[in-house]
């Protein structure tokens, strides 16, 4: 009652209108002072977030069941599925910690936004198939009352992978696996390619695989915002800060054979507020590492990899940031509306962007030529020397083009086998991973989020079995190698 009266009494309605005329010329900042006093009184009243010692409204809560480090598409997807699969409404308190709310360096929004089922591992194909079904029905999954429906701007134009003589058999086997899993992919010979895409030069191409359905590209920012909106409406808390420390406890135990093993459990996450030395220890029971390109650093904070190399304690999380460039160019005589996302055997790729003969593309550099991931500056010489020659050879019309814009983004690159890391760590028992997808994280995010939520809630994978992607494979040396990486 009092609160309502205060709110209307001190609201901008009464005071602000009267003093508005003075606002510009006044040096007293009367309006600012009044709003400060108003805020203080409101917080003091019962029910307000007032603590007698200091104001903590900008800090994250002191307790949270799950802390998700990283607010990109993977982190938000895990948060969404946790809230969706929880057994009772409001059973799990989730906190998402994101250090940059503008997402200026996040891989999600800098991505080209493609989705494909043309992978070599069956698990990847299944992840992609579920994710595309999620995207197709996104307005049922992410519906928020009274908010407008999402328009992902999905282009169902498909992916076209080209293979040279050496890669043709591998491509055929991959397509067989993809078809078995339910992907709609077809193989094309060079003559069929020339007939269908007359702008292409098929020299050096022995075989091509073309995705007919459920493949294309979309707007990742829209997906991110849709997830954010929905997840906020489900009660997930967001925090603007950086994780600087984990406080954990160790438990010395023995295995059945008698080996000594030290199990760690994280009890607190220290979240440091931006531009200040203040931090808040958040007591939590589970931490999800969805920090993308910086997951390796978060894992080190938790003590993963601190031990003699060759042992499980000494196995680091092999995820590091790798810089990738994307260039946008204009070519007036380029491929038309039917152009899919074409991936050349040399590694260069391009796709149409919009209706104005603009194209997006790039190339993954060779291992030795990896650019320094310290910043996101674009190297235009890379385009001139490494990307343009391949593009011009494949599409002769691209000999005359003009680069309009370019940007760089990070891959959360898994140096071990370029596939994601999912599930709990064997020693730090309450840290779960959802990272390391090396350039195909965005397209698998909905399915991976569901898988991680299932592992957290049920203890095992229920819908898609992602056991080949567990952390333990780094110690055991079992590579789940993905061959179709762009």
């Amino acid at each position: 009652m009092i609160r309502r009266a205060l709110r209307l009494g001190l609201g901008p309605g009464l005071l602000g209108r009267g003093l508005g005329a003075h606002r510009e010329g006044s040096t007293l900042d009367w309006h600012g002072k009044v709003s400060e006093i108003k805020k203080k009184i409101q917080s003091v009243l019962p029910g307000g977030a007032w603590s007698p010692l200091c104001d903590t409204s900008h800090l994250p809560p002191e307790h949270s069941d799950v802390v998700i480090v990283g607010g990109g598409v993977l982190g938000l997807s895990v948060a969404y599925w946790l809230k969706r699969l929880e057994k009772r409404q409001g059973a799990i308190r989730v906190l998402v910690v994101e250090r940059d709310h503008t997402y200026s360096q996040a891989s999600t929004v800098l991505s080209v936004g493609g989705i494909r089922q043309q992978f070599s591992l069956p698990e990847n194909i299944q992840l992609s198939l579920f994710s595309v079904e999620f995207l197709r029905n996104i307005n049922e999954y992410l519906a928020v009352v009274d908010d407008p429906p999402l328009d992902l701007q999905f282009n169902p134009s498909g992916y076209l992978f080209l293979a040279s003589e050496e890669g043709a058999t591998i491509m055929e086997n991959n397509v067989k696996v993809q078809r078995q899993q339910g992907a709609k992919v077809c193989l094309m010979s060079p003559e069929q390619l020339r007939k269908k895409f007359p702008w292409m030069n098929t020299e050096g191409v022995a075989l091509a695989s073309y995705g007919l359905e459920n493949e294309g590209w979309f707007d990742p920012w829209c997906l991110l915002q849709g997830l954010r909106r929905k997840v906020q409406s489900m009660g997930v808390l967001f925090c603007h800060g950086e994780v600087t420390r984990f406080v954990s406890s160790s438990n010395h135990m023995e295995t059945a054979i008698g080996e000594k093993v030290t199990l760690k459990r994280i009890h607190e996450v220290h979240v440091k507020v931006d531009h200040s030395q203040e931090y808040q220890p958040v007591e939590c029971s589970i931490v999800v590492n969805a920090a993308g390109a910086w997951s390796g650093r978060i894992a080190e904070l938790a003590g993963i990899g601190k031990g003699p190399s060759g042992t499980l304690q000494g196995t680091k999380l092999p995820v590091e940031p790798r810089k990738r460039y994307v260039y946008l160019w204009h070519c007036p005589q380029g491929p038309g509306l039917e152009a899919p996302l074409v991936a050349d055997p040399s590694g260069a790729y391009f796709r149409r962007e919009g209706l104005g003969n603009n194209y997006l593309g790039g190339c993954s550099p060779a291992e030795e030529e990896e650019p320094d991931p310290g910043n996101l500056e674009v190297d235009h010489d890379f385009f001139q020397e490494k990307v343009w020659p391949h593009l011009a050879q494949r599409v002769p019309a691209f000999e005359t083009l003009k680069v309009r814009r370019a940007w760089a983004g990070y891959y959360d690159y898994n140096t071990f086998d370029q596939n994601g890391v999912v599930g709990p760590h064997p020693l730090v028992v309450n840290m779960y991973f959802a990272t390391g997808f090396s350039g195909h994280g965005l397209q698998q995010a909905p399915a991976v989020g569901r898988a991680v939520a299932e592992v957290m809630l049920e203890g095992h994978f229920q819908t898609i079995n992602l056991s080949p992607f567990l952390f333990s494979r780094f110690y055991l040396g079992e590579k789940a190698q993905e061959h179709c990486i762009i």
């Binding site: 309502r4 009266a5 709110r7 209307l8 609201g11 309605g13 809230k83 969706r84 929880e86 409404q89 409001g90 579920f130 079904e133 197709r136 029905n137 049922e140 999954y141 519906a143 009352v145 009274d146 701007q153 999905f154 282009n155 169902p156 134009s157 498909g158 702008w199 007919l212 359905e213 459920n214 294309g216 906020q232 409406s233 489900m234 009660g235 005589q333 380029g334 038309g336 509306l337 039917e338 209706l355 104005g356 019309a397």
Partner: protein
Amino acid sequence: MKQSVKQSDGTGSVSPTLGRSWEPLRGTGGSQKDKNSLRLVAPVWNRGTSGIRGLSRSVDPEGSQRKGRTLLQFLADHFYDVEAVREYLLQKQVLKVLRKNRSSTYIKERYGPYVAGAYFILKQGGAVKFQDKEWMRPNGRGLSGELWKLREVPIEAVDASGCAITYQGLDNLLALQELQSLSLQCCPHVDDWCLSRLYQLANSLRELSLAGCPCISERGLACLHHLQNLRRLDISHLPAVSNPGLTQILVEEMLPNCEVLGADWAQGLKLGPEEQSHDTASSPIPA
């Protein structure tokens, strides 16, 4: 004679995940709701508002988006019961569309894909033309008895204008491998995803009409390039297409043997009327 058909298609292929998404939306922000209700209730005391629209506008920061709020929306913000009723009604509507789009496996097995497809279209309110027969429309008294005898006769034309066909329901149409003419005019649920499935009819389809569909954009039209046997394509009055004139030119380039009816290509260009009459080219020079 009314043929009563038993709806014994209990094993209709409703996607399991879609079924799951119909459980009541859990966790729709309890704390958020309290904040909302406080925000909206407080200015009841505020003198400077006029009516319910004024209430939400004066308080809500993004009030300009919600100018058209109805009484039902206002009540739903305050009372959990009204919100639950609203969600239930919405779910019922969506479930209705979903139910209409189930594929009847029983009919498919017993009578073949053509009869199953015809049954589906007629149930939705469209019209079907079997080869060498007249157009079959749903008459008020139920389906015609001749339908069940046409097991081997392929369907050559389907008119599904205004029907609530979705991505799932398209399964029935895609089984008709001799379909030559398809009209999806003003279908509210046909979107870009549905168009990406039409490649399966590429061998036979000659005529396609998408006029007036609210959900189709130029991105869906781009995947019509598979339909190389198409001779007539109608893409007029598509509100979601951003640039109708340019889209028409690009679609014409993509399908060189097809007559594309749509927006006048000069639409969107700032030409005077006398210049327009000179520039009406029949087809642009391919790139």
